[in-house]
Each structure stands twice: as structure tokens, then as C-alpha cells.
């Protein structure tokens, strides 16, 4: 088994020794970028697959995410800054009037594990607060969650505000939540819709090109 496979498997087992394995791999002179891409990212992806298969729950992913962050902290000083992967920033929120957060949190978690920078504004967030934060953080994507038919119009409202203030073209806006659909997303002029958290990650990666857009 290669060092990368060991790291990936340890992360998948949620083993606290994963960080130590990363240190050992660095000490042996393994490529830091490969430790991330073939070890940590593969391990996280396996955890995501297990979540989709109902073998893991959100808490297991939270632990895996924390472990992965610790591993990356150890690797970062060894990375050549010009080769360091940098992914886009995503501002995510449950829209105004809606306090459901489970789906939104899961999307945020999976995006974070996929390497995106996440700015999670929480639930019941006013349209301008979302737009202001997206501008402030230089976000590429605005992700809007709604779990009720009576809060879906608030997704549309964010897009309307963006249009009214001449900022629509600066952000990719995606929507999701149980009552939403692709046709709803199209009807309000969103850039994309995802049926579940895994699909949301693929959608954001697709919208951000190779995933290296800042």
C-alpha cells in the first residue's frame, strides 16, 4: 500500500493517526501536492460516498473534515504556492423566512470538503445580507436553500436584487431544497439547481470550470 493510500484509508476510518501518517509521508519526501490530491482528497471522497450510501452520517463527515483540515495545515508549509490548489468562494444561506438548515449545512460541508471556501450565513437571511457578503468575500457562487413553497420566492428575490443593482453577472446563483426543481431554477433565472448535496458539489465544480477559479 502506498503512503497516499494509507492516508486515504486512515481518513476514511476517521483515524486520528491520519495526521501522523501525513507527517511521516512528508518526512519521507513524498510530494506534498500528491499527499493532498491522492491521499486526503481521496479519503474525503470515500467518506462522501459512504454518506451517500447511508453508511456514514453528517457527524462522521464533520470529523473527517476536521481531520482533513489538520492534515492540510501540516502540508501547507511544504507546498509551492504556485502549485497550491485554490478553489472559488461560495456564499451559502437559507433564504429569508426559512429556518431549515440540514440540507444547506450538508451542501456547505461537502463543498468545503471538496476544497471550496465556504461562507455560511445561516438561516433566515435577508437578500441584501447575502449579496453584501458575496461582494465582501469576492465569492463566485451564491447558493440559496429553501425548504418551503412559501420561501421559494425569496430565492427569486435575491436574483431580482442582483439584477436591480447591476450585479447579476458577477455571481453564479444556484438554488436547492425539497420543493425546488430544475424548472423552478430556470423560471427565476438561476444558473443551476441540484437535487442533493453531492449533485450540488458537481454543479459548483462545473460552474467554476476546473475548480480553480478564484
Amino acid at each position: 500500500m502506498t503512503a497516499f493510500e494509507e492516508i486515504a484509508e486512515a481518513l476514511d476510518r476517521l483515524d486520528e493517526d491520519t495526521v501522523e501518517l501525513v507527517r511521516e509521508a512528508l518526512a519521507r519526501g513524498e510530494d506534498p501536492l500528491e499527499i493532498i490530491e491522492q491521499g486526503i482528497v481521496v479519503g474525503i471522497r470515500t467518506c462522501g460516498d459512504k454518506l451517500a450510501a447511508y453508511e456514514y452520517g453528517v457527524p462522521e463527515l464533520l470529523v473527517a473534515g476536521e481531520l482533513a483540515q489538520e492534515c492540510i495545515k501540516v502540508v501547507r508549509p511544504h507546498l509551492d504556492p504556485s502549485k497550491a490548489p485554490a478553489k472559488a468562494t461560495v456564499v451559502i444561506a437559507t433564504v429569508q423566512g426559512d429556518i431549515h438548515e440540514l440540507g444547506k449545512n450538508l451542501v456547505a460541508l461537502l463543498l468545503e470538503l471538496a476544497g471550496f471556501t465556504i461562507v455560511d450565513l445561516g438561516v433566515d437571511v435577508a437578500p441584501m445580507a447575502i449579496i453584501d457578503k458575496a461582494e465582501e468575500t469576492g465569492a463566485t457562487v451564491i447558493a440559496l436553500s429553501s425548504l418551503m413553497v412559501t420561501t421559494m420566492p425569496a430565492q427569486q428575490e435575491v436574483i431580482t436584487y442582483l439584477r436591480d443593482t447591476g450585479k447579476r453577472e458577477r455571481f453564479r446563483v444556484i438554488v436547492g431544497g425539497a420543493p425546488t426543481s430544475r424548472s423552478w431554477a430556470d423560471s427565476i433565472g438561476a444558473d443551476g439547481w441540484a437535487a442533493d448535496a453531492q449533485a450540488a458539489v458537481a454543479l459548483v465544480e462545473g460552474l467554476c470550470g476546473s475548480g480553480d477559479r478564484q
Partner: protein, 443 residues
């Protein structure tokens, strides 16, 4: 305590309880949707342990409300075993049931939160209310009223939910059942302002409607939930204690979800003061119609039935739409499961997962009542055989269920009668349920 830390403590304890339960007797058979006595008791014991150890999390104060095992059991033992709903000629007693009980659960039907345009709202609710088996009406959500869009948390919501309340009461009256139980009221009320305002304004007798108090998944509350409980106490309204558990988020499977759901019921009673438990299960992707969702609800029902004896309200949805065989088979499946589990009240008859606009019809409610009646007295084994055969007929299609027809295309809007096509489909499906699935109808 940070919410993240509570979530991790919750999951750690739940995983341990799952290992304990499955270690002692193996994983419960997911095909036995109506679980056995031993499983039910293990779920209850695990739920008490879970709640006693992790407590309830108040998201607003970021504090944990701790309850001791003794307090949990004391509160559970003091719940009512029956309550009355509705008024006048429509008053019904929700009585304690057990698996094999020869009398049916109380049947409360409607679109259950499904969205509507203005012109379909009243006739569709009337189509449910007029069914002879309908003992309560659970409303849908009006998308707009007289040009005002329904938007939760805004003044719009007060205006539109006031109209919902008025229309649902008119539907009951038009069906000749003015005292009909109207469930959580107003049907689409989300904000406490809309609920307090429109519940008060409707001046309904306490038994005719309830106030929904939903614990958030998993084991979480907020100040608003306590406000709602205090409103109920002040107005003599029995709170609708509502617990949803999500499979695929903090709970990985039906057993974990049922333990959490049961703990949620026990925890919610500590501040709602209620005796009923409205339970429902959903997957993270939003489907609540799979076998594991039914298993979760039935296991919780059996756990409460054997260890508390309070009225349990069970939610049933169909993924398919009206005027499809699949929606009728799905409805029969959950009605049989809930009746055979000893559930006291079924709230069902909704279709398209409660998401599509105007995709609801009263014949679905008729199936809830007739299938529940047919399932009375069935043993758990016999019920499980029927449920398994029903699921075999539609389970693979759940993620791609047919949408069917909207209400205005499967009912005549003047006479509020199903089209000939829908009536014939209903009868054909009922015949097949008798001949091919072994369900003997008496209604």
C-alpha cells in the same frame, strides 16, 4: 455548548446505542415494517438513554436542557391515553390502540401542506372532507390570495394563511361537517405571528384545531417552540407535538432514526405539555415514502404504544400523483402499516410528496380510510406480508414516481366528483388490492 459539539455528542451516543441494540439481537429485519415487541422495547429503552444523556439543545440560548431518566419516565407515564378532536357531530375520540385492534385509527386526510393555486384550494379540500371516512381535514398551502403572494415571515403570510383558515373551514361546512377537526391551524402557518394571529382570529373551539410544535432534527428546540407551547396552555389547546427525524443526516438508518424520533417525542413533552405524538420520517433527499421511513414511524409507534400508551399520529405521503395506481398502492401500504402498528391516528392522503402544485385529490383520502379499515385485526406477520408485496409493486419507481393528474383534471370542479377514469382506476386498484395483495375491504 456549540451546536456542532451537541451534534457530535448526539451522534456518538446514538452510534453506541445502535451498536448495543444490534449487538444484542442483530439488525432488525427492514422488511418487517411492523416491528416485533422486543425491537419496540429496545427502541424505547435506547431513546430514554439517549435523551437522558444528551438532552435537548436550545439553538437560541445555545444551552442544553438536561432531563433525568426519572423525569422522562414520570412525564411519559402521565400522558393522556385518549383525547377528543372535532366538535358536535364530528367529534371523535382518539382511543388507545394496539397491533391487532379491531377498530381503526382516526382518519385525518387532506393535501397535508401541498401547495395550491387559489381556484383549486376550496374544491380540493371539499373533495377530501366529503369522503365518509374523513374524520379530520389537514390543509394545504395557498401560494397566493387575491394577488398577494404567500411569503413566510412577512405580512403576506398573515393575509394568505387567514384565507387558508377560512377556506378550510368552509370546505368542512360545505361537506356537511362543520365541526370537523382541522389539524394544525392555520394549515400553512410558519411564523408564530401568523399562527397566533390566525388561530386566535378563527375562534375555533379548542378541540377543533391544534397548534403545531415541531422539534427540529435531531433533538433541538428554540424559544419559538416554547412560545407556541405557552400559547397552547393559555388557550386550552392541545399541542400538536411533531417530531421529524431525517435518515441520512445525523441518523444513518431506520433504527437510529426511530431511537432519535422516540427520544424527540419524550423530550418534546417536557415543554409542550402535550400527550399526542405526531411522527414522521424523511430521507435527506426529501423522500418520506420508502420502506425505511415506514419502519421508523412504525417502530416509534410500537415503542410508545408498549411503554407509554399515548395517541400517536402517523404521517403518510405518496410519491406518485393523483389518478395513478402507484399512489393508491403507496397509500394502502402506509395505511396498513400504521393500522397494524397500533397507531391511533393517520394523517395522510397527500400525493407527489406534498410538493407539486394542485396535485392532490380526495380519493386518496378515501383509500386511507378504506385500507385502514381493511387492516383492522391483522396480525403483524400478515400485515408485513401485505406491505412487502405492495412495496415490491412500486418501490423501484419511488424516485421517479408518475405525477398523475392535477385536481382540476381528475375531478369535476362543479360536482366535486372524480372523473370516470379516476373512479374506474380506484375501483380496479381496490379489486387488485383484494385479489392480488390479500387486503379484504369491508367499506
Amino acid at each position: 455548548m456549540k451546536e456542532r459539539d451537541f451534534d457530535l455528542a448526539f451522534a456518538k451516543k446514538l452510534r453506541q446505542l445502535y451498536a448495543d441494540v444490534t449487538g444484542s439481537r442483530g439488525m432488525p429485519d427492514p422488511d418487517r415494517v411492523v416491528p416485533d415487541d422486543e425491537t419496540a422495547d429496545l427502541v424505547f429503552a435506547a431513546a430514554v438513554e439517549l435523551l437522558a444523556e444528551v438532552g435537548l439543545y436550545n439553538k437560541d440560548s445555545q444551552r442544553v436542557v438536561q432531563v433525568t431518566r426519572e423525569e422522562i419516565l414520570e412525564i411519559a407515564s402521565s400522558r393522556l391515553s385518549e383525547i377528543e378532536l372535532g366538535t358536535g357531530a364530528e367529534r371523535v375520540t382518539v382511543r388507545e390502540r394496539k397491533p391487532g385492534s379491531t377498530f381503526p385509527p382516526v382518519i385525518v386526510t387532506g393535501p397535508v401542506g401541498g401547495p395550491f393555486t387559489e381556484e383549486c384550494y376550496l374544491p380540493c379540500h371539499l373533495s377530501y372532507a366529503q369522503e365518509p371516512t374523513c374524520q379530520g381535514l389537514l390543509g394545504g398551502v395557498l401560494l397566493s390570495w387575491q394577488g398577494i403572494e404567500n411569503m413566510a415571515g412577512r405580512p403576506n403570510e398573515l393575509i394568505v394563511t387567514a384565507a387558508e383558515g377560512e377556506l378550510i373551514a368552509r370546505a368542512a361546512e360545505a361537506a356537511g361537517k362543520p365541526g370537523l377537526y382541522l389539524g394544525p391551524f392555520p394549515p400553512g402557518g410558519i411564523s408564530p405571528e401568523a399562527i397566533f394571529c390566525n388561530h386566535s382570529a378563527a375562534s375555533l373551539p379548542p378541540g377543533q384545531a391544534q397548534i403545531p410544535i415541531q422539534l427540529m432534527p435531531e433533538l433541538k428546540l428554540s424559544w419559538t417552540k416554547i412560545d407556541l407551547a405557552l400559547y397552547c396552555q393559555a388557550h386550552g389547546v392541545h399541542p400538536w407535538t411533531d417530531i421529524v427525524s431525517v435518515i441520512g443526516a445525523f441518523c444513518r438508518n431506520a433504527l437510529e432514526s426511530s431511537i432519535s424520533q422516540t427520544a424527540g417525542v419524550l423530550g418534546a413533552w417536557t415543554f409542550t405539555g402535550g400527550s399526542t405524538a405526531s411522527v414522521w420520517s424523511t430521507d435527506i433527499e426529501g423522500l418520506c415514502t420508502r420502506k425505511r421511513n415506514l419502519w421508523t414511524n412504525c417502530a416509534t409507534t410500537r415503542a410508545l404504544e408498549r411503554n407509554v400508551g399515548n395517541p400517536v399520529f402517523l404521517l403518510g405521503y405518496a410519491s406518485a400523483g393523483p389518478c395513478t395506481e402507484m399512489a393508491l398502492l403507496e397509500t394502502a401500504a402506509y395505511s396498513v402499516a400504521y393500522t397494524a402498528s397500533g397507531g391511533e391516528l393517520i394523517w395522510g392522503g397527500s400525493t407527489c410528496n406534498g410538493v407539486d402544485t394542485n396535485a392532490y385529490a380526495g380519493l386518496q383520502g378515501r383509500m386511507v380510510g378504506e385500507a385502514a379499515e381493511a387492516a383492522c385485526g391483522l396480525s403483524a406477520d400478515r400485515a408485513n406480508q401485505i406491505i412487502e408485496r405492495l412495496f415490491a409493486a412500486f418501490e423501484a419507481d419511488l424516485p421517479v414516481a408518475p405525477k398523475g393528474l392535477t385536481f382540476d383534471r381528475c375531478y369535476d370542479l362543479d360536482s366535486i366528483r372524480p372523473t370516470r377514469q379516476y373512479a374506474q382506476l380506484y375501483q380496479r386498484t381496490k379489486d387488485a388490492l383484494s385479489a392480488d395483495f390479500g387486503l379484504s375491504f369491508t367499506l
